[in-house]
Symmetry: C2
Subunit: 113 residues, 2 copies
DNA sequence: CGCTCATATGCCGATATCGGCATGCGTCAA
DNA sequence: TTGACGCATGCCGATATCGGCATATGAGCG
């Protein structure tokens, strides 16, 4: 085996700090590649590659505009991330942060299966 | 350069499907390594390695219990993921899904910087 | 057409990752 | 102490990833 199939997955796409930065920048609207590269301090090919990953998982869309290619946000895919992480919300809320977890664990002494 | 520093980051830790499964399982309480491995259909060393990553980013804690080692959830680190993804919420809500994005983009014809 | 700008792609090197296997280490019981 | 169990670690092979560089592709312009 090896490295398992991670690509093509939204969670993997946002695992990269620079890709998250791109998404944040795109919240303010469509942007051409060069501008993204410049603002984030990366090379143009670097930006293109990250954008490609984001496009493949559906988080951005591109549109031709003359010589430029504008990338825009399509954040619907982030909804699953939000919902998945939200499934743990009670574990970080004050009520459950400590005591809750402790009590829960006690309930599970039947951990044999 | 190479592969950039991704490890030691919560986003990276949850990029792995199996690690997400572990976290979900741990929502019901502490579990020993072998049980996790069995339930998720992975080998014991495999489980240990994923648990190590999760421990290093602070998403799980371990506790010795006789011969066993119990792993428990500490999901506070997922809060940042939830909040980050929540920052895009308006982009997937019905109101903004299409029209909103379109209008926003129009506002940014001043995209020269 | 030939040139230039904007972007994508290909190739490379360095490295990180994942799974499998063998083995080390600690704990408990006889 | 010896042995069994539970888990961690080390090593390996296959592969994926990221950054950098050079280059291909495409659009607009003169």
């Amino acid at each position: 085996m090896a490295r398992a199939a991670t690509t093509s997955d939204v969670f993997n796409a946002i695992a990269e700090p620079q890709r998250r930065e791109i998404l944040v920048l795109l919240r303010t609207g469509e942007r051409p590649v060069t501008e993204l590269a410049r603002k984030l301090g990366m090379t143009q090919p670097g930006a293109s590659k990250h954008l490609r990953v984001l496009r493949e998982v559906g988080l951005v869309r591109d549109r031709r505009a003359g010589k430029q290619r504008l990338y825009g946000l399509d954040a619907r895919g982030l909804r699953s991330v939000h919902e998945w992480s939200g499934g743990f919300e009670r574990f970080w809320s004050d009520r459950f942060d400590r005591l809750g977890r402790y009590v829960e664990d006690l309930n599970h002494e039947r951990r044999g299966e």
